[in-house]
Subunit: 186 residues, 2 copies
Amino acid sequence: MNEPAKKPPMTRDSLLPLLAAHVLTHGLGQASLRPLARAAGTSDRMLLYHFGSKEALMADLLGHIAQVYAAALDAAMGSARAASRGEVVARILAQGDAPAMQPFLALWWEIVAGAVRGIASYRTAARAMMDELLGWLETQMPADDPDPKGGARYLLTLIEGTLMLGAIDHGDTAHDGLLASGLLRP
Amino acid sequence: MNEPAKKPPMTRDSLLPLLAAHVLTHGLGQASLRPLARAAGTSDRMLLYHFGSKEALMADLLGHIAQVYAAALDAAMGSARAASRGEVVARILAQGDAPAMQPFLALWWEIVAGAVRGIASYRTAARAMMDELLGWLETQMPADDPDPKGGARYLLTLIEGTLMLGAIDHGDTAHDGLLASGLLRP
DNA sequence: CGATAAATGTAGCACTTGCTACACAGGCTT
DNA sequence: AAGCCTGTGTAGCAAGTGCTACATTTATCG
């Protein structure tokens, strides 16, 4: 009667959320098979059985995380449209400061680093996430913006620069830069 | 008579350039003691003898690389002052595209990722390199700029965003953004 | 010269890595 | 009933990790 009733059959789809949770809190650097398996309540043996290889697992996992990220964006999308570009930036940066987004941001830089080093699955995930963010940004642009497409790319560049500077304790630098740009008002 | 005359006494300072070269081409991920030692023509044993621990070695190494980076900036500093902010950005991005800078950029994102994960020596190195870049940028601002300090921070944010987007094959996105910002002209 | 310390080589330890071989259960079809 | 495919557990391997113990060479100094 002590049987934990672990019938739920354990598929790729049932494993991915558990793996994603582990990676989001512990980082990609610690993403070796045994720790991942422990986090998912299995063995490395089973992870390889289900995913084929670690490389395939990582590709699936990053894809899954990209989906979760997109969903989080949707959920955070404010209903009212912003009135100015500055308001768009302010909203997004406010969301970037939210605790819920921190694990994603931390993971993001690891993905970027891996992409630059040429790891294919990282490149794919990075592109997917950035495409998603750019598309979402375009829908967030003010209704009367003269150049929503170009403006979204401009804001994306500023936002990513700001996030990077924030990641290395240069958040003030980026903030002062945004003030000087005229987008934000003090 | 086959003796390679390996007299040069091998100090920290003689090792660091060799280690830096290896890390710049192979990345921090491959920076384990034995490969590093091979690249420097020694043994892991000797690296620990000279640096005490891997952690101390990495701290020294990142500090050294930050110095090299600063020197590279000095060397690349154009003599003539830029006439506009757009020209400053264009110059720096041109330099960022130079092949000589690629290893630094690739390393940069690994340092950022490590800094975000809380590795102290990475944080220190990241701060040092960004302080250096910001200071240099201020000296590069146009002579007639109304707000050189704020402007430099604004440009730095844009530049870092552009570099990141370029790192994940979104260089076009950043370029279009800079065009839309009015800083660059087509 | 002899003693002492610094520098270097050789082995090894305990651990983690991705991955595999083998056995064994249960349900499925034939 | 006989086979068979899917799922799972246990062991293990070869390679690599940071680091240490011990022995040896080499240089320095009294």
